[in-house]
Every structure is written in structure tokens, then in C-alpha cells.
């Protein structure tokens, strides 16, 4: 199967941008990506896009140009960006188009998301009795994990501390100020053991990527980042995922573990070969648990890994070098694409003051969304 290459990347800064709609921010990102690739919008043969709160992604064609291209709106919760890329990469593999775009944007209201029970095939009494709050899931999963694998509260704080530190080095991040250990550790309890500064918040932003085939890259004579693998999985029976009203007697590996395993098999490499990674950090516990679910360490080894600073930009496996979801906030449609944008910058050596040293060659991204969706990518310079 022909390899897929990323030849254009674009981002609108995440955070709050008064006066610009979510769609405006997506269009901004799309134009940046086109400039980066040296292409025009009319060159794009197929597009996949998503947004939760800013309307149909396809409406971006009003501003980009009504070229008549196939444009597919999709939505898979917080994993929407990952799914757009998965679909666009498969469109290139199939030969459906020479150039494909994955685009995502959003502009959410302040405060936590209020998920709909009805849209998730969950009875309405679950939300009416206060059992369908997304943050509860993170806390319940983490509380059990800390008990089973001896993860300390101190380690939770250190993950948040790193996110804000990395965000302070990223001009496109929302949270660009360092938050001290003390402020994080003493911030308001939201869902025990998770405190205010340990969470990412819904935000605004846009991101776009342009894909083509390896053959086309050679013809064009341009530099590209290659997608060695792109895999997506939904939850399987017995895994512990968001919104579950009961859990099976025998808990099974998550959608994340399954997607990661498939990606490593498909790329023919292992977690030890990855130089820089993006892991869904909806809150600090997610980053900790997803590290092991993606295969980067054994369950429980995160405690020493994080205490020894190995996930810092200067560490052995730098995680969320741009500040991740915690420092960037989460515009759902764009978030998974922001992760790939950052890995492309790192592999191209363009990450500025947060650049991982020694020219990273292989990167990894993982995004997770409700109600149990995971998309992962393995990216390489050659």
C-alpha cells in the first residue's frame, strides 16, 4: 500500500479569539496549510472535517471557495480530529484524490461540556440523577488506577506542571503562563482526586492538514512527514470507557490499547522507536494512563517515569511538548489535528524554544473521545 504524506500544516492559535467564529478559525488554518504546501484550495480533491459547536465543517467552503469537491462532515467526540485524518489518509490510499484535507475547528462556551444522554443511547435518568458528567469518568478511572498501580497525588501535580511549562514555550497555546506546583496542588477539588488545574477546558481554535501520496511527494520534490500508520478503534466489549453505566466482571483493554497495537503492527516498529509523542491529556490522569495503554511503559511505571522527568521536553520520551490539551484547551473538531501539527513541527525541526533535541525522526499521536473512540498516528521524517 502506498504511503501517505503530510505536505501542509496550518493552525489558528487555540484559546479565546473574540470576533472570530470557530469556522473563521478553521478557514484561517486551512489557508495556512495551503500556503505551507504551496497549493491552492482548488487543488484539494477531497476533504473531511468536523466541529461540535461551530456548525457544519463543510460550510468553510463558503469562504474557501465552492469548488464542488466531496466534503464529508464527521464527528466522533473529542477524537473528531483523529477521525478526520484517518478518513483523509484512507482517501489518499484508495486513490480517491491527489490531495486531501483534514480540517477541524470549534468555539465552545465556557465551562464543562454537557453531553446528551439521548445522543449516546443512554437513558435520560442517568444525566438527570447526576451520573453523566464526563469529568466523573476520568476521576473514577484514575482513582481505581492509582489504587491498582500506586500512582501518587504528587505525580498528578507534576503532569499538570509540565503541561503549563510546555505551554509557556508555545506561542499558539491558550495557557502561556507557568502555574506553580502549589497552585495546582491547592486548586479547587472538582472530582476527587482531580483538581481544577489538572483539567483541560473547552476552548476555541482551528487546525488543518494536507495529505498526498508518496509518489506525488517525489514528483513535487518537496519535504514531507510520512504517516507510517493511522488507526482508529471504537470501544470493544468489556473495556472501561466514558459514560458506561456498568462495567463487565472482566475488564478488557481499551479502544486506545487496541488502536495503538494495530498502529505499531502496521508500522512495523515499537514504542521504543518513538522520539516525541502526543497523548490525549483531557486531564492529568488521562496522560498517565494513556502512556501505558499506548504501550510506552508498563502499567505503574509512570510513577518513576514522571518523577524522573523522562516525559519532559528534555526527557527520554517527551510527551505533549506543546502543552497538550491542558495548556491548549480543547476545541473538539481541531484538537486531534493540533497534536499532529505539533509532531510535524518537531519532526521538521521547527518547534522553536520547545524543540526536542537531537532531531527527532519518529513521532506518535493519540486522541481519545466519547463514547470510547481512539485514533492514533505514527509519523516519520523519511
Amino acid at each position: 500500500m502506498e504511503r501517505v504524506a503530510i505536505i501542509g500544516i496550518g493552525l489558528h492559535p487555540f484559546g479565546r479569539t473574540p470576533g472570530m467564529s470557530g469556522l473563521d478559525q478553521g478557514v484561517f488554518a486551512a489557508r495556512k496549510a495551503l500556503d505551507d504546501a504551496g497549493l491552492k484550495w482548488s487543488d484539494i480533491g477531497i476533504a473531511f472535517g468536523g466541529s461540535r459547536s461551530s456548525g457544519h465543517a463543510m460550510a468553510a467552503t463558503n469562504q474557501l471557495g465552492l469548488t464542488g469537491l466531496p466534503f464529508i462532515n464527521l464527528y466522533t467526540g473529542c477524537a473528531t480530529g483523529g477521525s478526520s485524518l484517518f478518513a483523509a489518509a484512507n482517501a489518499i490510499k484508495s486513490g480517491a484524490a491527489k490531495y486531501a484535507m483534514a480540517i477541524g475547528f470549534d468555539k465552545h462556551e465556557r465551562g464543562a461540556f454537557s453531553p446528551s444522554a439521548k445522543n449516546n443511547d443512554i437513558p435520560s435518568w442517568v444525566s438527570e440523577t447526576g451520573l453523566m458528567v464526563t469529568t466523573q469518568f476520568f476521576a473514577l478511572k484514575l482513582q481505581r488506577y492509582m489504587h491498582d498501580y500506586n500512582i501518587s497525588h504528587d505525580t498528578l501535580v507534576k503532569v499538570a506542571e509540565k503541561a503549563f511549562k510546555n505551554g509557556s514555550l508555545n506561542p499558539n497555546a491558550w495557557r502561556k503562563s507557568i502555574v506553580s506546583y502549589k497552585e495546582i496542588a491547592e486548586s479547587k477539588m472538582i472530582n476527587d482526586p482531580l483538581r481544577k488545574y489538572m483539567f483541560c477546558s473547552p476552548a476555541e481554535g482551528g487546525a488543518a492538514l494536507i495529505l498526498t501520496s508518496e509518489t506525488e511527494v517525489r514528483k513535487m520534490g518537496v519535504k514531507a512527514v510520512f504517516l507510517e500508520a493511522t488507526e482508529m478503534r471504537t470501544k470493544n466489549y468489556g473495556s472501561f470507557e466514558v459514560y458506561d453505566t456498568c462495567l463487565a466482571a472482566n475488564i478488557q483493554p481499551t479502544a486506545t490499547s487496541n488502536a495503538a497495537k494495530a498502529a505499531f503492527e502496521s508500522a512495523g516498529i515499537g514504542p521504543d522507536d518513538i522520539d516525541v509523542l502526543q497523548i490525549q491529556d483531557t486531564e492529568v490522569g488521562a496522560e498517565i494512563m494513556h502512556l501505558a495503554e499506548n504501550g510506552f511503559c508498563k502499567h505503574g511505571d509512570q510513577e518513576s517515569l514522571i518523577q524522573n522527568g523522562e516525559t519532559l521536553i528534555s526527557g527520554r520520551i517527551p510527551v505533549n511538548t506543546d502543552g497538550g490539551c491542558i495548556a491548549n484547551g480543547e476545541p473538539i473538531g481541531a484538537s486531534g489535528l493540533r497534536q499532529v501539527y505539533e509532531i510535524c513541527l518537531q519532526l521538521r525541526g521547527q518547534a522553536g524554544s520547545r524543540q526536542v533535541l537531537n532531531s527527532p525522526k519518529v513521532g506518535y499521536t493519540h486522541v481519545y473521545g466519547s463514547p470510547g473512540v481512539s485514533a492514533v498516528n505514527i509519523l516519520a521524517t523519511s
Binding site: K141, Q143, D192, A248, A249
Partner: protein
């Protein structure tokens, strides 16, 4: 036993879910089909009133609508949320009654039916678990 609301069935004698006749897996609340083996042959199963705390958290902020008490801003009552491992092995998500005793994984828990009440007298029946009284 009463159906309290849609597919939610409970009273002081237990919490009722489903068991798949083909693969024997358990589900809560009652469900029309089995997400393990795709069977549509399901039977009711009373999980009883007692179990052990498998995981827990607290809801320190009032959830947004459609939470029944979302508009009660003053005197917000923190409640717990947990998974209770029932004797048959299924883990059921439930509200937890908070008390002076801290939650700990493995604690013995018991079912307690209760009511969420608004100042205007409107009520919503709920099931909750609390740490079992010695």
C-alpha cells in the same frame, strides 16, 4: 418490583438489570440486547442490595442541566459517584451518599433508595449506595 423510570428498576430489595441468556453477561440498567454477543434474548436479574466499592469520586460542582437539581445554586450538596461491584461481578455506576467516613476501594456498600427534592416539593426517586453500617 417497580419500574421507577424508563428501564430503571429498583426498590429496597435490590437493583434490577439484565442477564444475557446466551453468553450470561450482566448489564445495568435493563437492556434490550447484549453488547457482548449481540443476542436479543435477555432476562431480568436482581443484583441484590450489597456490593463492594470498586472505584469512587465526588461531584464537587453542581452538574449542568438536565441534572434534576441544576438550578439549586445555594447549599449545593456534594454527592459521591462510584462503581459498586455486585456479587455476580458486574460493576454498577451509582450515586454514593457522603458521610464523615472517607470512601475506600473495597468497602462494603449497601443500597439505599432516596429522593432528590427541590425546594418547591418536586421529587425524583434515585438509588444510592452508602457505606454499610456495622
Amino acid at each position: 418490583m417497580d419500574t421507577v423510570y424508563e428501564n430503571l428498576v429498583f426498590d429496597d430489595n435490590g437493583l434490577v438489570g439484565s442477564q444475557c441468556i446466551d453468553c450470561k453477561e450482566y448489564f445495568f440498567p435493563k437492556t434490550k440486547s447484549c453488547s457482548n454477543c449481540s443476542s436479543v434474548d435477555m432476562t431480568n436479574k436482581n443484583f441484590g442490595t450489597k456490593g463492594r466499592l470498586w472505584s469512587w469520586t465526588t461531584q464537587n460542582l453542581a452538574p449542568k442541566a438536565p441534572y434534576f437539581l441544576h438550578d439549586i445554586k445555594e447549599d449545593y450538596q456534594i454527592y459521591g459517584v462510584g462503581f459498586i461491584e455486585m456479587p455476580c461481578g458486574v460493576k454498577v455506576k451509582s450515586r454514593l451518599q457522603v458521610s464523615t467516613v472517607k470512601f475506600e476501594i473495597g468497602q462494603r456498600m449497601e443500597l439505599k433508595t432516596s429522593l432528590l427534592e427541590k425546594p418547591n416539593g418536586e421529587t425524583l426517586p434515585v438509588f444510592e449506595f452508602r457505606i454499610e453500617k456495622e
